[in-house]
């Protein structure tokens, strides 16, 4: 059902707040407008907070995929430079 093509992925399961958001933000900065980033994150604090922070940066969230293994993939379309 995916109506998007993932440009790049970033794994933030190896860092903790607030570096989770920083790592995701850096990955987004390396992309072009309209590119799609898949952010792999842990359950708990990352999935509670990172989507909101990404939204506040102005990017477009398309989907949050529950991997059923304690991790999630947040699919984000980069907006702006």
């Amino acid at each position: 059902m995916a109506d998007y093509n993932i440009t790049d992925t970033v794994d933030i399961t190896d860092v903790v707040c607030p570096v989770t958001f920083v790592k995701a933000k850096v990955a987004l900065e390396e992309l072009e407008e309209g590119d799609i980033l898949s952010i792999h994150m842990n359950d708990g604090e990352p999935v509670q907070n990172v989507p909101r922070s990404i939204k506040e940066e102005g990017h477009q969230i398309l989907k949050l995929i529950h991997n059923e293994d304690g991790t999630y993939d947040l699919i984000v379309r980069k907006v702006g430079d």
Partner: protein, 286 residues
Amino acid sequence: MAVDYATLKAGGFMRQKQKNTFSLRLRVVGGTVTVEQLQTIAAVAKKYGHDYVHLTSRQGVEIPFIQLEDIEAVKAELAEGGVQPGVCGPRVRTVTACQGGKCCPSGCIDALDIATELDRRYFGRQLPHKFKFGVTGCQNNCLKAEENDLGVKGGMAVSWVKEECILCGVCEKACRQGAITIEDGEIRLNADQCNHCGRCVTACPTGAWHGKSGFLVSFGGTFGNSIQKGTELLPLIEDEETLWRVADTAIDYFAEHANPGERFAKTLERLGWEDFTAKIEEAYHG
């Protein structure tokens, strides 16, 4: 001439252990001090104090080591820079606030605006004992609303609009209360579990969660010699007019029923919460 300590205390001058020496408490609202005020305070502390200020536990600023004979000069120099003395003793104290929705991504209300209005209405009002107001912008409670005789906490009444939802699943995770579930392409909100934190609203990427700001009010908190957490008695208050009606009722009740030297929590404990609860519900319903 005998020193009138009660008057000095009412005007914010706290007697120090050193003879004829005072720590001057200043009027601060919601932890906000302008640069001009800071410069004035610094100049006075340098000239009349010991070159430093003390930041109190409730966002106040005090200038220690002011000498009795300098009090009038100190007041005049502070007034010129827009700084007023604070208060001590049995009256409404410094109104505290977090930065709230003006700056903070989590803030559900403009905490400083509410604190400013509380200060305007009640600051310095003479009462049977001290009375503290605190305003916090959201459930994160950085300002510790329940420590206060009357605490105000920002919240949101939330609702979901199906047509704007892409069922991405972010809100289900953003909610710390487990109040949101997704079943068969529908979002369900368990109203009993919702604590009005508004995280679904701020997290939702498409604006499908709508939030209306409101106030959760707690009564009878105190964190001094005895400790008691303030109690919420009402649902989320969704307009300021009702908030002021509720606050008026609470402070008037304290003024009328408290014994001298008795904090609000003790008054409510002595009289039982039933009568006060009935009056505050009446005020809530207008």
